[in-house]
């Protein structure tokens, strides 16, 4: 019961074909509350999945439910979604505030409430100073921000953001990241797609990883990494005498490989990282070594994704 309540987006055996090209292949997934990253390389099927979720595309097979309802031509559910499409999608002759204002009207808002909502959305995205200018004169970053403002203007329950960081500078990315986090804290569910993995990783650990139209992993990045038993985990150790430590480690059953990667660093490969983390401090103390860092080297989203795509490919 609890699981059903938490499901924001449900895909049940969904496939999408474009003629002979497969956009999405028999995907079953549940996207829960909070921020979820939809990651995958270009052409993996992210935009197809978003198009299906927004009721822009029809699934060739299977069923999609958003907030418990089918989305195709369903204003009741679509009005609860804020969507920021990828790329330059504008009526370029409008100013930023006209653009957001028109779409606020399209969401049924009017009068003072609408004006306040427009102002707030523009303010949240840091576009107050530029809202009176025509969109055709905007930089890429400004265009991205005003698209996000229109997605926020009607206070949606679910935000679907297709590559929202494209064209933004590092400061902009940081600000937008903070905005998405604060919205999620206020109870807005966010599905965010990106092919730049670290951008999404900075926002959330909940991921939907997609490649060649298939979901290759879903859930918390670290949990996903933990289930990959066929891949030994890599642990990086910065130590004053790496060669000496390597000799001691080579004698342990739980170690499958040791590689000295720098004059002061080595990489351990193990199928049981928990045991290594337990035993390593004792060994270091016993042998009198000086260690400055022990860290997982391949639990980042990038590493996990790399493993998964190599395996699925």
């Amino acid at each position: 019961m609890c699981e059903i309540e938490l499901a924001v987006i449900e895909l049940d055996k969904v496939s999408k074909w474009y003629g002979e090209v497969i956009g999405l292949n028999n995907v079953t997934a549940t996207i829960g509350a909070g921020i979820t990253g939809l990651v995958g390389p270009n052409g993996a099927g992210k935009s197809t999945l978003m198009g299906l979720t927004m009721g822009q595309l029809h699934p060739s097979k299977g069923v999609i439910r958003v907030l418990g309802q089918k989305v195709w031509n369903a204003p009741a559910v679509l009005s609860q979604i804020g969507y920021c499409p990828e790329g330059d999608v504008f009526w370029l002759n409008l100013t930023g505030s006209q653009f957001v204002g028109f779409l606020a009207k399209q969401s049924g808002m009017s009068g003072r409430k609408r004006r306040e909502a427009v102002q707030k959305a523009i303010e949240l995205t840091g576009m107050t100073s530029y809202a009176g200018r025509a969109i055709k004169g905007y930089s890429k970053g400004m265009r991205q921000r005003i698209k996000i403002a229109q997605a926020l203007v009607h206070s949606p329950r679910l935000l679907i953001l297709d590559e929202p960081f494209t064209g933004t500078d590092p400061v902009g990315r940081h600000e937008l990241g903070n905005l998405f986090r604060s919205l999620a804290e206020q109870g807005v569910d966010v599905l965010i797609s990106s092919h730049v993995l670290h951008e999404v990783e900075a926002l959330t650990s909940q991921m939907l990883m997609i490649d060649h139209g298939r979901i290759i992993a879903q859930g918390d990045v670290h949990t996903v990494r933990g289930t990959m038993h066929d891949r030994p985990h890599a642990i990086r150790v910065r130590v004053d005498q790496p060669r000496r430590l390597a000799i001691y480690l080579a004698g342990l059953d739980i170690i499958t490989g040791v590689k000295i990667t720098a004059p002061d660093a080595l990489m351990i490969e193990t199928p049981s990282p928990e045991q290594v983390y337990q035993q390593l401090p004792g060994l270091i103390l016993e042998k009198g070594l000086t260690v400055s860092e022990i860290a997982a080297a391949d639990e980042s989203l990038e590493a996990v994704f790399d493993y998964l795509t190599r395996r699925s490919g």
Binding site: L78, K105, S110
Partner: protein
């Protein structure tokens, strides 16, 4: 209701700011320019018949049967297609409005703008044709003795919006069905509207130009003489005093219902449109 009003106003604004509007205005100015040229170059009219012929030929053949379909083709085929091509349709279909409602609102707004422009062109043609003309000084043949130019103008001003609505509905449907709407539309205009509608075949009742001719012949019976057809055929096709408004509106309604069904089931993506 508010989103509908907002989209209606927005569509009017976008149509007026669209570059295609300049082309539309230039095209619509052509009959006025032609009258002005004729009146300044040719010797003054001696008989009312010459003036009558010029006026009705330009109003019917140039404006209603030529420019109105062309203008509606330019605007109608991209009524939804323009938003689909630049992907802004995604903002419209993901808000509080059904796809069919979006279509009807955009259709109504565009039809209003085009109908007003075409009526203004008709008014301009009338003013150019009759300004500084002393009707009393013209020789008036007996069959034109009760000619009332203002009455004819009123007929045209009522018929033109119907023509706009009809052609816009047809070309909008073609725009939704085909990925090459302009080519198909030109084919439709030539084969169906210009050729088939003049033949004594049953299918002509589905032609807008046929219905418009019936309507004009009914409202201004003398204009039947303009149609270069054998007398019997003219009588058969247009001389029955039929009221074509219900038929024309049925064609419009059919085209709109079909368009609404299509827009409801179709994926509105540029890739989809070009694939088809």
């Amino acid at each position: 209701m508010r989103p509908m009003i907002a989209l209606f106003n927005f569509t009017i604004r976008q149509t007026l700011l669209n570059r295609k509007l300049w082309l539309t205005v230039l095209m619509l100015a052509a009959p006025c320019v032609l009258v002005a040229v004729v009146r300044s170059v040719a010797p003054p009219f001696d008989t009312a018949k010459e003036l009558w012929e010029m006026y009705h030929v330009l109003a019917q053949f140039m404006l209603i049967m030529g420019l109105v379909p062309l203008i509606c083709m330019v605007h109608g085929t991209s009524l939804i297609g323009a938003d689909v091509e630049n992907r802004t349709v995604v903002y419209l279909i993901t808000r509080r409005m059904r796809r069919s409602t979006m279509l009807f609102v955009k259709f109504a707004a565009t039809a209003l703008v085009l109908a007003v422009l075409c009526d203004l062109a008709m008014l301009g043609l009338h003013l150019c044709a009759f300004s500084a003309v002393q009707m009393e000084s013209l020789i008036i043949p007996s069959r034109l003795s009760d000619w009332d130019p203002a009455g004819d103008l009123r007929c045209y001003l009522l018929i033109i919006p119907l023509a706009v609505v009809g052609f816009l509905a047809i070309f909008n449907l073609i725009g939704l069905v085909s990925s090459r709407p302009l080519g198909i539309s030109v084919g439709y205009l030539v084969v169906f509207e210009l050729i088939l509608s003049n033949l004594p075949v049953r299918a002509r009742v589905y032609s807008l130009l046929h219905q418009l001719r019936v309507m004009m012949a009914d409202a201004m019976p003398r204009v039947i003489n303009l149609y270069e057809l054998p007398r019997e055929l003219r009588e058969e096709l247009y001389g029955q005093g039929a009221n074509a408004v219900p038929e024309l509106l049925a064609i419009v309604l059919g085209a709109l219902i079909l368009s609404a069904a299509l827009i409801t089931i179709r994926e509105l993506t540029p890739t989809r449109m070009s694939r088809e």
